[in-house]
Symmetry: C2
Subunit: 319 residues, 2 copies
């Protein structure tokens, strides 16, 4: 089963209390593809400049990512610089944004992409998200992410895209902002009322909630002792979620709940290191282990030894 | 099985986006006793002034609360005034605090209280908490709550009390502050290193995490569409938690996990109305229903219909 992802491919400069990286591999489509490619075939649509290191392209290819839709042009790759403070690891402070070629990004799907089973519309202009939907044939699952910028600047167009997708993935705060409410349940009602089957509200270090007509499901985040860099956690979550679903070929609500645990487990690894570095060596067995732990630590009859969490710490501080 | 609770009994004036109440029944010991008395015998220690309405005392007695340790003196009852804003229902803004008789509170346990099975030291001066521990014989479970004020003003004494109790109950932010860390796992290590078997970290609308030497357990908060007044949620949580344990006579880690769900369910009712009003008519069957729902909405194999949550909304908007 294949997934088309359309979104940013970037070079990120990130400062955290634990260190910094300059012009490291980043972008929503990158995190998503790196995560989802552990499960299934990913077809990427994006744009990069002549400043984008070939090693990053090579890396994506070693993951089996189809990059025929990754346009390389003369000019600058999208560059984002941000900082996380100790008391606010959930929210980055943006220091600089240089859109470069991303400002004129025109997503075009190669013919081979049009029959994809799933589409992930990462956080880009809803006008472009609509253009992508016009280019795919009959995907089994269409998933959208967005952000406050589009809610504020083009809510009408965003609403149009929302009405055409199956799953809306947003940060909790963005879902509330979109719903013009302080209750996530009210926001869920409004968003589901527009057509989507599912709202997946991401709560950062507090987990994720799934709302559907007949279902409420909540998954806490995996507890970590050390968080090195939260960048890309949401897109990694999406990659684990959609990668699991596409590989299973099962888009039922029951499968989506299991997929949320895969997304949460995958995201917990991403934030243990900068950029997509932790994902480079990650295996499906590593993810499965944390997914199993989720079943224990939310179940009063289960038993997750505290020692199980030490493992996570040691993974992060040793490398 | 009986529980001794020592803490504030207050008259609270609270403003929320949904309305306000003036000099309503409040205080940590009040919320705790009202909640725990649904499960078991509660023995209360506190102080009230001659301005404290007798109807409140009568109410506690109708719940079977033993008030022989509730001192009534000439003077003012502890009065707290606070406000919650739309964007911060987790944290009250204190408008006014008048300690009144609480400033010279000297907790004395009637002889009949000394053989209690459990002790709940609500958030008071750690010097007084120690005095209480000296007056009980051999309780099976000692639980402590505290707050930033004592961490900042008398950490040495607070540490001494922590080393003498079985369960430490703190807000997440307070546990981090106490542990001088930004990782709750690190904070848990430090606190458990002092002697307690369990750290229960309350995360407000995001739930509660239980840390023990061999166990990590997480319970999300019950999702509510309308929150009227978050005051007392933490003490109600403690009342449900300890009430369940004492009534079961089981203080194992397995029982504590189930008790966390009872505490969370109980707290979800408290915040649906002002003061302890929602608890007045609450039954154990109501709580059991939400506890059962918890098992569904964190289990990918479970199924909690979205409609189940509508019930919560209707309870809050109709009364």
């Amino acid at each position: 089963m294949s997934i088309v992802v359309v979104g940013s491919v970037a070079l990120d400069s990130v400062e955290t209390p634990f260190g910094r990286v300059d012009r490291a591999l980043g972008g929503a489509a990158t995190y998503f593809s790196t995560a989802a490619s552990l499960y299934t075939q990913v077809q990427m649509v994006g744009v990069i400049g002549d400043d984008f290191p070939q090693t990053h392209v090579d890396f994506l290819q070693t993951r089996g990512v189809d990059i025929r839709g990754l346009q390389r042009k003369a000019g600058q790759t999208f560059h984002w610089a941000g900082r996380y403070d100790y008391d606010n690891l959930n929210n980055a402070q943006t220091l600089d944004t240089q859109l470069g070629l991303f400002a004129s990004f025109d997503p075009r799907l190669p013919d081979e992409y049009r029959a994809a089973d799933c589409v992930f519309l990462a956080n880009i202009d809803p006008v472009l998200q609509l253009k992508v939907l016009e280019q795919v044939r009959q995907p089994k699952l269409k998933v959208l992410d967005s952000m406050n910028f589009w809610i504020e600047s083009n809510k009408a167009k965003l609403t149009e895209v929302i009405s055409k997708v199956d799953v809306v993935l947003m940060n909790e705060g963005e879902a509330l902002q979109y719903g013009e409410t302080f209750s996530l349940i009210t926001a869920a009602r409004k968003i589901l009322g527009l057509g989507p089957k599912v709202l997946l509200a991401k709560k950062g270090e507090y987990g994720a909630a799934l709302f559907a007509d007949k279902t409420y499901f909540f998954a806490p985040a995996y507890p970590l002792e050390v968080v090195k860099d939260p960048t890309g956690a949401g897109d990694t979550f999406a990659g684990g979620f959609l990668g699991y679903l596409a590989s299973a070929g099962d888009y039922s609500l029951a499968a989506m709940k299991r997929a949320v645990l895969h997304g949460s487990a995958m995201a917990s690894f991403t934030i243990e290191d900068y950029s997509i570095d932790r994902l480079r060596t990650l295996t499906l067995a590593d993810i499965e282990q944390r997914v199993q732990q989720f079943a224990h630590f939310t179940n009063p009859e289960g038993n997750l030894p505290f020692e199980g969490l030490v493992l996570a710490r040691e993974l992060t501080t040793d490398d």
